[in-house]
C-alpha cells in the first residue's frame, strides 16, 4: 500500500435495541395512537427501514396536552425546585450512562457521522440537562424576579438536524422552570426522542411531565394550535415559524422561534489561515450543512481570495463521506429524499445563475441519500444561492474589500442567526461583532455550543434565546 488507506472502522450496532414499532409516550407510558396513521423511519445512509412509528392524531394530541396539564397542576407545578433539580440530574446521568447507545441510534436515524453524535451531540445533550438541573432550585437568581413562575404546558416542536440535542434544548429549561411539556420530534428522526421517553421512565419522572408524540406537520400543527397549551417553542424553517406566529396571534400563548439562517463567515487577510480553513470547513460541512447557523456564505477579503480558495479545495479533498457508523466518516448522509431534492435543485439554480461549481472527487455509496461537499465561486448577493437557505453541504463564496463592506454584505439578508469573523486583530473582532446583526458571533471559531451560552436569532431567524440564564426567560412568566 503506497497510500495510507484507512480500513473500515465501524461502530457496532449491537448496542442499540430498536423495537419494530413504537407507540406514543403519554402520561408516563407508551400507548397506542387512536386516530393517526403509522409511518416508517428509515436510515438515510442505507434506506433500510428502522422502525414503525405512530402518528398522533388530534385525539392523541389532546390526550397528551391533558396529561401535561394534570401533571402541571397536581405534581410538577407544586413541586419544590430542589426536587425538580434532582429529577433533571437523574436524567442527565442516565443520558451519560447511555451515551454510546444514543449516539449510535442518532447516527442510524439521522445519517450524521458517529464521531459527531458521539463527540458533539451527546455530550451537549447531557450538559444541557446538568446545566438546567442546577437552575431549578435557583430561579430567584435568574434575573426574572424574586419568585418567578412557570407558564404551564409547553408545546415543543423540533427539527431533524440535531434530534436529541434539540430535545435537550427544549425540555431541560422548560422542566427546570416548572413547566410540563408535550414534544413532537421530526418525522424523519423520532427514535432518540422515543429512547428519551424510556429514560424518563428510568428516572421515575412523574407521569405526564414529559410527553412525546410522534407525527409530521399536521401533528405539529394540532399541538401548537391546541387551546390547552400556554407556551409554544419551535425550531425549524422560517416558513413554518411564520405560520406558527400567525396562529398564536390574539391568544395568550407565549412563543419562541428558532428558525433559518444564511450566515456569513467573514475571512480577513490577516486571519490565522490554517485554523480559518478548518473553521470554514466546519462551518458548512459539519452535520452535512444541516445546521441553521451554518456558515453558508464565505465572505473572503479579495486580497487573499486565491490563497483561501486553493487551501479550501485542498482541505475539502481530505473529507471522507460514507457510512455514518464508520468512525472515520466526516460527512454523513442527507437526512431525507426531500432534503436531497431541495439541495440538488438549489445547486442547479446556482449553476444556472452563472456561479462556478466545484466538488472534490468522492465515491458516493450506491444506496441512501448523498451529496458531495460543494463550493460555488463567483457568487454575488443577487444569486439565489446567496440568499436562500440550502441546508446542505453547499458553500457560496463572495468577496469584499473593506470591513464596512463585509458588514454590509453580511447584514444584507432577512436572516440574522449567526456570523463568523476570522482575523488576528482583537479590536476588529469586537468592531465586527458590534456591527453584525446576528444573535451569535463566532470569532476565530465556528459552530461552538454550550448550555451556558445563549443562542438564537435576530430578524427572520426567530426570537428568544436557548441556553444560559437567558434561556430560562422563555419558560417563566414575567
Amino acid at each position: 500500500m503506497s497510500r495510507f488507506e484507512y480500513a473500515p472502522a465501524p461502530e457496532s450496532r449491537a448496542i442499540v435495541d430498536i423495537k419494530s414499532s413504537y407507540g406514543l409516550f403519554i402520561n408516563g407510558a407508551f400507548v397506542e395512537a387512536t386516530d393517526g396513521k403509522p409511518f416508517k423511519t428509515v436510515s438515510p445512509a442505507s434506506e433500510e427501514v428502522l422502525a414503525e412509528v405512530s402518528e398522533a392524531g388530534p385525539a392523541d394530541v389532546d390526550k397528551a396536552v391533558r396529561a401535561a396539564r394534570k401533571a402541571y397542576d397536581k405534581v410538577w407545578g407544586p413541586m419544590p425546585g430542589r426536587d425538580r433539580a434532582k429529577y433533571l440530574y437523574r436524567i442527565a446521568r442516565l443520558i451519560q450512562e447511555r451515551s454510546r447507545e444514543l449516539a449510535v441510534l442518532e447516527s442510524l436515524d439521522n445519517g450524521k457521522p458517529i464521531r459527531e453524535s458521539r463527540d458533539v451531540d451527546l455530550p451537549l445533550v447531557a450538559a444541557h440537562f446538568f446545566y438546567y438541573a442546577g437552575w431549578a432550585d435557583k430561579l430567584e437568581y435568574a434575573g426574572a424576579g424574586e419568585n418567578p413562575q412557570p407558564l404551564g404546558v409547553a408545546a415543543q416542536v423540533i427539527p431533524w438536524n440535531f434530534p436529541l440535542m434539540m430535545l435537550a434544548w427544549k425540555i431541560a429549561p422548560a422542566l427546570a422552570a416548572g413547566n410540563t411539556v408535550v414534544l413532537k420530534p421530526a418525522e424523519t428522526t423520532p427514535l432518540t426522542a422515543l429512547a428519551f421517553a424510556e429514560i424518563c421512565q428510568q428516572a421515575d419522572l412523574p407521569p405526564g411531565v414529559v410527553n412525546i408524540i410522534t407525527g409530521a406537520g399536521r401533528t405539529g400543527q394540532a399541538l401548537v394550535e391546541h387551546e390547552g397549551v400556554d407556551k409554544v417553542a419551535f425550531t425549524g424553517s422560517t416558513a413554518v415559524g411564520r405560520a406558527i406566529a400567525k396562529s398564536v396571534a390574539g391568544t395568550d400563548k407565549k412563543v419562541t422561534l428558532e428558525l433559518g439562517g444564511k450566515a456569513a463567515n467573514i475571512v480577513f487577510e490577516d486571519a490565522p489561515i490554517d485554523q480559518t480553513i478548518e473553521g470554514i470547513v466546519n462551518g458548512i460541512f459539519f452535520n452535512q450543512g444541516h445546521v441553521c447557523c451554518a456558515g453558508s456564505r464565505l465572505l473572503v477579503q479579495e486580497s487573499v481570495y486565491d490563497e483561501v480558495l486553493a487551501r479550501l479545495k485542498r482541505r475539502m479533498s481530505t473529507l471522507r463521506i460514507g457510512d455514518p457508523l464508520d468512525k472515520n466518516t466526516d460527512i454523513g448522509a442527507i437526512n431525507s429524499p426531500e432534503q436531497l431534492a431541495r439541495i440538488r435543485e438549489l445547486s442547479q439554480v446556482g449553476e444556472d445563475e452563472g456561479a462556478e461549481r466545484w466538488s472534490p472527487e468522492c465515491e458516493l455509496p450506491p444506496q441512501g441519500y448523498w451529496f458531495p461537499p460543494t463550493v460555488f465561486t463567483g457568487v454575488s448577493q443577487a444569486h439565489r444561492i446567496a440568499r436562500e437557505e440550502i441546508f446542505g453541504p453547499v458553500l457560496s463564496v463572495l468577496t469584499f474589500r473593506t470591513p464596512a463592506e463585509a458588514v454590509e454584505k453580511a447584514n444584507n439578508t432577512p436572516f440574522g442567526l449567526s456570523a463568523g469573523v476570522w482575523t488576528d486583530k482583537g479590536s476588529r473582532i469586537l468592531w465586527m461583532a458590534n456591527q453584525l446583526r446576528a444573535g451569535v458571533v463566532w470569532a476565530n471559531t465556528f459552530n461552538r455550543f454550550d448550555p451556558t451560552s445563549p443562542f438564537g436569532g435576530y430578524k427572520e431567524s426567530g426570537y428568544g434565546r436557548e441556553g444560559g440564564r437567558h434561556g430560562l426567560e422563555a419558560y417563566l412568566a414575567h
Binding site: S2, A7, D274, Q275, E278, T318, N328, D424
Partner: protein, 305 residues
C-alpha cells in the same frame, strides 16, 4: 536601509498567525481517526521504519550502543519479518562504534551535534562538534538552534549558525532541532520552521527530548503545515521529526494520520518523516504481534537494550 536580518524578521513576523485553540482542536480531531486491521498493519510497519532509535545519555558506553544497534537491525527476536529502523542516533563520540556495528545494514547513523542539547557554546565549537561527527562517519546530523538568540529576536544569528553547520555537515543530511518546548507559542514554531528551512535544513525536528514538553501532536501539525507551505512555495520537500514523549503505537499512528492529512502521502516515507524515540519500538512490536497472533503480548517477549 533594511539589512537582510531586517528583511528576514519582517518575513517571519509577517507569516500568518496560528490560533492555539484551533490548532489544538484540529490535532484532537485527527486523533479520533480509528485505524484498524490492514491500515493498522501498514501504519505499524511504516512507523518502525521511521524510527531513529536513540540513546543520548551521559552514561552511554560502547556496550550500550552495540546493544542498541543490534536491536536496530533485528527489532523483534521472534519475528524476522519485522522491518528495520531508519537510523540510530547517538552522541558524536559514539558515532564510530555505531557505524561499525551497523555496517552493511542500510541503517543510518545520526549524530547530535552543536553542543547538544543546550546549544550554549561558541560557533567555532559547534562547527568542530559537527565536523567530528561527520568525520567519524555520521550520515545525518541533528543540530540545535540557539533558542536564546531566537527568543531575543536575533533571527539573523540563528540563520547564520544553521548555514555554517549546513556547510560543516558536508554531505550528511541536516536536521535542525527547534526545541519547541522552549519556543512555547505555535507562532514561534511556525517562524522557527521557516527560518530553518530557508537556512538549508533537510529536516526540521521538534525537540532534544531533554526538555518537557517534547513533541506534541499540535506542534507537529504546525510544522507539517510549514513544510507543506514551503513545498508549495519552493518545490522542495523538507522532512519533519517529532522527538521525545512518543511512547505508544497508538500515539505514533496519530502522528502518521496527521502527516497523511496535512502534508500528504509524499511524507509517509522515512526519507521525510522520522520518530525520535526509544521505548516506542517495543510498543510497536507488541501491537504488531497482537495483530499477527490475536493475543495481547507482554514486555518479557521483547528485548530491553
Amino acid at each position: 536601509m533594511t539589512s537582510s536580518e531586517d528583511r528576514l524578521r519582517r518575513f517571519l513576523l509577517g507569516l500568518p498567525g496560528v490560533d492555539q485553540v484551533g490548532a489544538e482542536a484540529r490535532a484532537a480531531t485527527l486523533s479520533t481517526r480509528s485505524i484498524k486491521t490492514t491500515a493498522k498493519a501498514y501504519a505499524l510497519d511504516l512507523a518502525i521504519q521511521m524510527i531513529d532509535l536513540t540513546t543520548l545519555e551521559g552514561q552511554d558506553t560502547p556496550g550500550k550502543v552495540r546493544a542498541l544497534c543490534a536491536k536496530a537491525k533485528r527489532p523483534d527476536p521472534a519475528d524476522p519479518t519485522a522491518p528495520q529502523v531508519a537510523a540510530v542516533c547517538v552522541y558524536p563520540d559514539l558515532v564510530a562504534t555505531a557505524k561499525y556495528e551497523l555496517r552493511g545494514s542500510g541503517i543510518n547513523v545520526a549524530s547530535v551535534a552543536t553542543a547538544f542539547p543546550s546549544g550554549r557554546s561558541s560557533l567555532a565549537i559547534k562547527v568542530q562538534d559537527t565536523k567530528d561527527a561527520v568525520a567519524a562517519g555520521a550520515d545525518e546530523v541533528d543540530m540545535v538552534i540557539d533558542r536564546g538568540a531566537f527568543l531575543s529576536g536575533r533571527y539573523g544569528l540563528v540563520f547564520d549558525e544553521i548555514t555554517a553547520i549546513r556547510e560543516a555537515a558536508g554531505d550528511a543530511h541536516l536536521k535542525v532541532i527547534l526545541e519547541t518546548g522552549e519556543l512555547v507559542t505555535y507562532d514561534n514554531v511556525r517562524r522557527a520552521s521557516w527560518l530553518a528551512m530557508l537556512a538549508g535544513a533537510d529536516f526540521i525536528k521538534t525537540s532534544t527530548g531533554k526538555v518537557s514538553p517534547a513533541a506534541t501532536l499540535p506542534v507537529t501539525l504546525v510544522m507539517l503545515e510549514a513544510v507543506r507551505d514551503y513545498h508549495e512555495a519552493s518545490g522542495l520537500h523538507i522532512g519533519v521529526k517529532p522527538a521525545g514523549g512518543i511512547r505508544t503505537a497508538k500515539d505514533a499512528i496519530k502522528y502518521l494520520v496527521t502527516v497523511n492529512e496535512t502534508a500528504g502521502p509524499d511524507w509517509l516515507d522515512p526519507e521525510l518523516f522520522r520518530f525520535g524515540a526509544s521505548s516506542l519500538l517495543n510498543d510497536l512490536l507488541m501491537q504488531r504481534t497482537k495483530l499477527a497472533t490475536g493475543n495481547y503480548s507482554g514486555p518479557d517477549y521483547f528485548t530491553l537494550d
